[in-house]
């Protein structure tokens, strides 16, 4: 694959995001199969040490750009440098995160480079000269596999769909300090404030166990008992769109197409019907346990274990039984 793969990474608390490492894993596998190198880009305002992490996780070349305009992210600030790197490295594929950064940047990049973008990709494969991208559509009810007649193919990659590589500190790579082409007058959009919800306890995206509640919980009180179960299992609490829209819990708990993507070892869905848009955010979970009084609910099609008893009695009983086992 001439030109290889370009990966636009993102950082969080001085580290590459988990999804960035997944993208590097995907890029490495594409490059190893088809030829070509993996080039990573990291932009931020305090990014020391990150380029080395990206090399350890599979990058051959890293462009590290340190500029006060790069954080917090706005497309206006990132686009000129990302576009220039893309024009100079001529990759076959550009990978970005399917996040509020990558999904904001990728479409603009596609139009600027006069090519096209596939958002929310679950798979990116090379097949006899074509780049095939698989993504959910119709609210998660269907999947489409698409390719483009133009290059590079740009894809935003959904979290929890790719395997990151084990970090290898002995890997060698070239780290280039980016000489930014950004001029301040190009930045028209200004971030005037940020408010991030402090997540208590276990983080939803990385939790090994997720207990999620939906419309069947009937109100905020239902979430209290769900939260108690989550805490007991050392897991995180999640929610369906219905529960969030009813105001029973914060938006940051939402799992699904317009919320977070999770893939825990154990996903316990309480009172969730299992609409396509919800399953698009949790279908890659290891074991799904569904508790729903509607025996015909779609969630049971994805579940390993199903229970149709009411949660009000069942969950406290389950908490008791788990405590018994632990005792």
């Amino acid at each position: 694959m001439a030109g290889g793969i370009l990966v636009i990474t993102e950082t969080e608390e001085g580290k590459p995001t988990a999804l960035s490492l997944e993208m590097l894993g995907l890029a490495r596998r594409l490059a190893d199969g088809e030829g070509g190198g993996v080039t990573a880009v990291v932009l931020g305002s305090s990014i020391a040490g990150i380029a080395e992490r990206l090399v350890a996780h599979g990058a051959d070349t890293v462009f590290a750009g340190d500029h006060e305009a790069f954080a917090p992210y706005v497309a206006d600030a990132w686009l000129p440098d990302v576009a220039k790197i893309a024009q100079e490295t001529e990759p076959a594929v550009i990978l970005l995160a399917h996040s509020t950064i990558g999904w904001d940047l990728a479409p603009r990049l596609a139009f600027r480079l006069d090519t096209a973008v596939a958002t929310g990709c679950e798979a990116v494969e090379a097949d006899t000269g074509k780049i095939l991208m698989t993504r959910a559509c119709y609210g998660g009810k269907a999947r489409e596999q698409i390719s483009f007649t133009t290059a590079p193919a740009i894809a935003t990659v959904k979290s929890k769909t790719q395997e990151p590589l084990e970090p290898d500190e002995s890997r060698s790579g070239e780290i280039a300090v980016l000489q930014s082409v950004l001029s301040p007058d190009q930045v028209r959009v200004k971030v005037t404030g940020q408010h991030r919800e402090q997540e208590e306890g276990v983080r939803l995206e990385t939790a090994k166990v997720v207990v999620a509640g939906g419309g069947g919980l009937g109100g905020p009180d239902g979430f209290k008992v769900a939260k108690e179960l989550a805490d007991l299992l050392g897991g995180a609490i999640g929610a369906s769109r219905v529960a969030v829209e009813n105001g029973w819990c914060p938006h940051s708990w939402q799992v699904g197409l317009s919320g977070k993507t999770v893939a825990p070892d154990l996903y316990i869905a309480i009172g969730i019907s299992g609409a396509g848009q919800h399953m698009a955010g949790c279908a890659n979970s290891g074991t799904i346990v569904a508790i729903n009084q509607d025996a015909d609910a779609a969630i049971f099609q994805s579940a390993k274990y199903g229970i149709t008893a009411g949660y009000e009695e069942l969950i406290p009983a389950l908490i008791e039984e788990i405590k018994k086992i632990r005792a």
């Binding site: 576009a83 509020t100 904001d104 479409p107 603009r108 596609a110 139009f111 600027r112 006069d114 096209a116 973008v117 958002t119 559509c137 119709y138 609210g139 998660g140 009810k141 269907a142 999947r143 489409e144 596999q145 698409i146 390719s147 483009f148 007649t149 028209r188 959009v189 200004k190 971030v191 005037t192 940020q194 408010h195 991030r196 299992l233 940051s252 070892d265 154990l266 848009q277 279908a283 074991t287 346990v289 569904a290 779609a298 049971f300 099609q301 390993k304 274990y305 199903g306 229970i307 149709t308 008893a309 009411g310 009695e313 069942l314 009983a317 039984e321 788990i322 018994k324 086992i325 632990r326």
Partner: protein, 294 residues
Amino acid sequence: METLLFPGRAAKIRTATTNKKEPSRAMHILACVKQILDPEIATTVFRINEEKKEVVPIPGMSPVISPFDAQAVEAGMRIKETDPENIKLTVASLGTEAARAVLKQGLAMGADEAVLLADPAFQGSDTTATARILAEAIKKLGDVDLIITGRQAADGDVGVVGLGIAELLGLPAITFAKDVKAENGTLFVERMLEDGVETLEAPLPAVVTIAHELGKPRYTSLRETMKAARKPTQVWMAADLGLDAGVIGAAGARRVLERLYIPIKESRCEFLDGGSPQEIAATLAQKLKDAEFI
């Protein structure tokens, strides 16, 4: 703005807005709306013809306005209400004649005018071609200050067209808005993040895409619906927009649909029902212990 595909366009739009006699108040907002298959239809009736690579039409099922686009109209109306006399809201849709229904809905919600982009030559447009057509329509309108779209259409779930319009017109854009205000030539947005919100501002003209956190779109009253029937709807074809046939519709599309399918669920659910809640809970707890979750 180094690699604009259509250089000079942004400047034209700016000139149009700054030349107004009352620059402090007058504003023109455009909300883009798409007519789609009802996204809330049950999984059980959703079928795909894999050979034709298309969704099997469901008899009696009426298409709807994409919910995020209804919220785009709602966002436009909330701004319009700050100065109804001086702020104009136009709704535009790229589709077939049937898309008049979603334009009527936008007009019934309070929009002033509508534009239907319904040339058979537009059929088969992908996001690239769609953004091109809408960008040309915005150019033809001439004086648009704010372009509002849904964060994504709830059929393809792609979320590219709004940003494509911004890039083609050389405009700033802000995505995933839960709150939008526009005053004195500046756009103010509260934008959803994975774990919170941020506030941003950008000079108009600009593009904003709306997240579902904006809240429910207003209902349309019978009175407004009847009024909507008398509001003007323009119909524009490719020729009206000076668009070359090669860059629109299927001819201009870069996206090739290789396969469309419903993912097969392999899991077979084992129901643990039987006995009292306590007994069921004990059975589940044992299963979780065997799998080393406890």
